[in-house]
């Protein structure tokens, strides 16, 4: 017998076991077809997961997902595209599975939220009233934070921090480059989407250069003095790429302070570079709809209640994923998915007149340094006052002295994780 049947039956048993509590709620469930309306903005790892799980948790709740794009291009492992280890097609998902879960999917852009009137306004599909709203818009680039880096500049100096055409552009530039060229990656200060991402990207570009353009050099100009999984990345770079990758941290003058896209110049306080390829990952903030809704604070990100993910700034609006300030919990797809499953249950409880319950969440992020060479960071997080804090003694990165077999296994697990989680998110 497969697990599916076993679990289903078990849950049904649990339901009859909990009959007293269930009976109290049941008449209300039957009385009206739709108990409540929940609108979700953003169909990424956070929003799509939330929408599906909320429908499943309580099918009497009407769930509408507003997503601006017809298909979703996933960022995790989009760095492998540069190494020729994945295609962008492998990263692309549709919303059919989400619709099949009973979620109404509206392909449109949410342009405003009237928090007092509890209405979301879209570009061309009208208005959507909600009892509760979930905002999971991911990031937007913080235009203006890096002088010279505007929308036009992204065509010369791609960020590729939202996967899709930007990823393809950066790959094209790398392929067009001559052997012996300089590639610069400009990495931002914290907080930003996917803390290990720039260094996985450096690894994947180095893999490509090593095979096709071995005289080339990769320079990481960083606005920080340390970075996620640093020891493991540097160990892997030494082992696989020799001295091809050079990392310059903040106190060594690494921070990119301005760019000039026309001349192709990248400036730090001490130096000026004109690389063959410049991948500028600029400062970020919560998706702009969060500002429109009044749930972002002065930092550009959204504070949340660590139990219910409800905004302390606007009642009945919940925020999760990259847009939220989840403190110790990193901005990752794994976090967004875990938060979404938790938040879906909390919202179902709140809409049924019950309180949200404090719980524990986990995160795991794999990074690929080369073929058969994977590393990870894991963490377990609990609400503590207004914060999500890492449980003391838990989490951390792969051991630096782990046997090579672990690196092979973690590369395999990374690949499996991507298939499993995207199946859970998009069906």
């Amino acid at each position: 017998m497969t697990r599916s049947y076993a679990l289903t039956r078990r849950r049904m048993l649990a339901a009859s076991g909990a009959s007293a509590a269930f009976a109290a709620a049941a008449p209300a469930l039957l009385a009206s077809e739709t108990k409540a309306r929940v609108v979700v903005v953003g169909g990424g790892f956070g929003g799509a997961t939330f929408a599906r799980f909320l429908r499943a948790a309580d099918p009497t709740i009407e769930v509408t997902l507003i997503e601006q794009d017809r298909s979703y291009v996933a960022c995790p492992f989009s760095n492998l595209v540069f190494a020729g280890m994945r295609e962008l097609d492998d990263q692309t998902f549709t919303y059919q599975g989400v619709e099949a879960s009973g979620v109404r999917v509206v392909t449109d852009r949410a342009i405003d939220v009237d928090a007092a009137g509890k209405v979301v306004r879209t570009e061309s599909s009208g208005e959507f009233a909600y009892d509760r709203l979930l905002l999971a818009p991911g990031i937007d680039l913080n235009w203006g934070a890096l002088p010279g880096y505007d929308e036009a500049a992204t065509e010369q100096m791609p960020h590729a921090w939202k996967a899709g055409p930007q990823t393809a552009l950066l790959k094209d530039q790398l392929e067009a480059m001559d052997d012996g060229g300089l590639v610069v990656i400009g990495a931002p200060d914290n907080p930003f989407r996917c803390p290990p991402g720039p260094y996985e990207r450096a690894s994947m570009i180095a893999h490509y250069l090593k095979v096709y353009k071995p005289k080339s050099k990769l320079l990481i100009l960083d606005a920080k003095d340390k970075f996620s999984k640093q020891g493991l990345f540097q160990q892997g770079w030494d082992a696989l790429y020799g001295d091809m990758i050079e990392w310059v941290g903040l106190s060594a003058g690494g921070q990119v302070v301005s760019v000039d896209a026309k001349s192709g110049t990248v400036n730090t306080d001490f130096d000026s570079y004109t690389p063959a390829v410049a991948n500028i990952i600029p400062p970020q903030k919560a998706g702009v709809i969060a500002e429109r809704a009044g749930v972002a604070d002065a930092s550009g990100w959204c504070p949340i209640d660590p139990i219910s993910f409800e905004s302390p700034l606007q009642p009945d609006i919940h925020v999760l994923g990259d847009a939220s300030i989840a403190n110790a919990m990193p901005k990752s797809a794994f976090s967004a998915n875990a938060q979404a499953k938790v938040c879906a249950i909390q919202v179902a409880r709140l809409l049924n007149g019950n309180e949200a319950l404090a719980t524990t969440l986990a995160n795991t992020c794999y990074s690929i340094i080369g073929p058969d060479y994977g590393i990870s960071i894991a963490g377990v997080f609990k609400p503590d006052g207004t914060m999500l804090k890492e449980v003391v003694g838990s989490g951390g990165v792969s051991p630096i002295d782990a046997p090579q077999q672990n690196r092979v296994l973690e590369a395999q697990y990374a690949d499996d994780w991507f298939r499993i989680i995207t199946h859970e998110v998009f069906g």
Binding site: M1, T2, R3, S4, A6, L7, T8, R11, M12, L13, A15, A18, F22, A25, R52, F53, R55, A56, A57, D58, P59, A338, K341, V342, I345, A348, R349, L351, N352, N354, L357, T359, T360, A362, T364, S376, A378, G379, V380, F381, E390, V391, S394, G395, G396, S398, A402, N406, L409, E410, Q412, Y413, D416, W417, R419, I420, I421, H423, E424, G427
Partner: protein, 100 residues
């Protein structure tokens, strides 16, 4: 239902029960177990990450407790150390397959 991930299943079956929204202990168990399905699927998905198919509650409890002091695994030790014995018990009961 074959080939459906544990997470989706969890939710589908929870939907049938409706209990997580109304019953505090079911809700708490579902919340605590929510992170697991990010990696551990069920059904016939082809994966080398161990699936939870067919593990009893006792087996899951023993595995998670053992991971807390095991340094020969890739990462479950780092995760398991974040949970108390009580939490491990709740997760095991929730995800464990009931004896036939």
């Amino acid at each position: 239902m074959r080939g459906v991930v544990v997470g989706a299943l969890l939710s589908v079956s929870l939907g049938v029960s409706g209990a997580l929204a109304s019953d505090a202990s079911t809700g708490a168990a579902a919340l605590l177990s929510a992170s697991c399905s990010g990696c551990h699927t069920g059904g016939d998905v082809d994966t080398s990450i161990p699936k939870l198919d067919g593990y009893s509650a006792d087996q899951i409890r023993d595995l998670l407790t053992g991971f807390q002091t095991d340094d020969d695994v890739t990462l479950m030790n780092r995760i398991a150390r974040g949970y108390t014995a009580e939490e491990i018990g709740i997760i095991a009961e929730y995800l464990g397959t009931k004896a036939e």
